[in-house]
Symmetry: C2
């Protein structure tokens, strides 16, 4: 089925629908891969993933899933090399870059309280919130993806109403398309507000700020992310004050920070104000998990 | 009660709790203002708002509330001047700039199906998604705020677990604080992906892109926003390809775009590629609703 990849809900499949096997899912298109857990294309993104307990590193909290990438295992299922950022793994990264949702299907798994008792169940849309590299106990590297459930309330804009005053003569807005809208989310916190004030909202990388008529704007970037599985603390030492551009670049691993506060991946250094010293423990965590050039210098698969 | 403003949930108040009147809400601190609908300080942000049908311009869809600012009315409740971006209105803008949540309390209102039958009910946390200016039918300007419900799933990071491997020796992470975390959200769509490709992910304002090891990153900015009450269409003519910095600036009304595509508020112009022409209708909508310098040139209250 080399047809166009459809992101988001499908017309004929409802959240909660069950399927006996991969073939049944393939037939309706909810998961088009006949075997693999990730359906999609490296260049275009992943339209669906199946979580079925086949991977001991997966973690399912219902609304948040830490999904382990594919590859690195031999035919017997044993890890014998590093996973690479190719195929389905590369596809999931595209979902993050392009804010595309991924359908999540849970398969039978007695160890997972969110899994169905048998077969497979379509459990709706998730967004790829972040991805990073981790070393397994056996030393092999895996890629992990944090998937967050998209809840109708915040995430789906209202469809254009029929009662809208004027027809805008520039095209045919398609509510089905709009429904697949997802977002880049910037985590912030009460504590980070005080740090931004400490830096007068100047970016610690480029020294710029965004001046609005109601005051300056900057973003707080947690070095070790908040939330599972990183569980970074919400403390000053784990936060940088950045402009939106450098925040995106930091979260995507375009650059990282060395112990001497020089930047890796781009030129420059993190400027600090008295009273704020980024934690070396957390900077190392970021380098080891997020800094892509360090993790995979040349490996493009 | 000139104590510190507490953003987020309060320890002793649960979502769904009822209160007979303002005095009862003031006593537990869920809404500290004794009369006004907005509690908070212009400089620090708003900790709570009451929606109770007192304002005909309010619109309540449950998970999304379009809340009208305060002021502009005489003692009889009749509009006799423009609302200004001061007091409670200025406070709500700070919530947006600093990603602080606001407690929403609904009061009795027979015309609102989401309102309680009597008294007041604490309905949880919302984020200030955007704000803009509008002209009423009588010609007076009002400020409006789109509030979106924060749902536990996506928005609240997991508290630090006791079982976390190592105690990080840099402070005492406070889960209660973390729980008040809210976010800046970037809406994106399937259609906007194609527009970003059309521009090779170069910002139409500053011509930069963010290069990641998995491809370039840019953001799609809807000129007339998607979603109620704007209901902008998801079509190319209503989208700009911007870097995160200029996206934030555009959404906050730091700059807008004239019909000749020159920038207002900052120097420069919107560059366009053949095949994409931003709609003049939508550019005008943005100027009239979002461009703060046009709307309130000198008025700081």
């Amino acid at each position: 089925m080399a047809t166009e990849i459809i992101f988001g809900h499908l017309e004929d499949v409802s959240v909660g629908d069950s399927f006996v096997n991969y073939k049944a899912m393939n037939k309706v298109g909810v998961h088009r891969s006949s075997m693999g857990g990730i359906s999609g294309r490296a260049k275009d993104g992943a339209d669906s993933v199946v979580i079925s307990g086949g991977y001991e590193n997966d973690s399912d909290q219902g609304d948040v899933i830490v999904y382990t990438g594919q590859g690195g295992r031999n035919k017997g299922g044993k890890h014998d090399k590093d996973q690479t950022l190719t195929l389905g793994n590369a596809a999931l990264v595209q979902n993050l870059l392009n804010a595309q949702p991924v359908r999540v299907i849970r398969g039978e798994d007695r160890k997972n309280s969110f899994a169905p008792a048998s077969g497979y169940r379509y459990d709706g849309l998730y967004r790829v919130e972040s991805y990073w590299s981790e070393k397994r106990v056996d030393g092999f590297a895996i890629w992990r993806f944090r998937l967050e459930q998209l809840v109708a309330t915040n995430t789906i804009p209202q469809p254009i109403k029929k009662s809208s005053k004027k027809a805008i003569p520039l095209g045919n807005p398609s509510p089905e398309r709009v429904e697949t809208t997802v977002q880049r989310v910037v985590r912030d916190s009460a504590l980070s507000k005080s740090l931004k004030l400490h830096y007068q909202h100047l970016c610690q990388v480029c020294d710029t700020t965004i001046e609005t008529n109601s005051g300056p704007y900057a973003e707080a970037a947690h070095i070790t992310p908040l939330g599972a599985p990183h569980n970074g603390p919400d403390i000053w030492e784990n936060i940088l004050c950045l402009c939106p551009n450098h925040h995106v670049m930091f979260d995507l691993g375009v650059f990282s920070v060395a112990d001497d506060l020089s930047l890796l991946g781009i030129t420059g250094l993190i400027t600090t104000e008295e009273g704020h010293a980024p934690s070396l423990v957390h900077l190392e965590y970021h380098r080891n998990h997020y800094y892509k050039k360090l993790i995979q210098p040349l490996d493009k698969g």
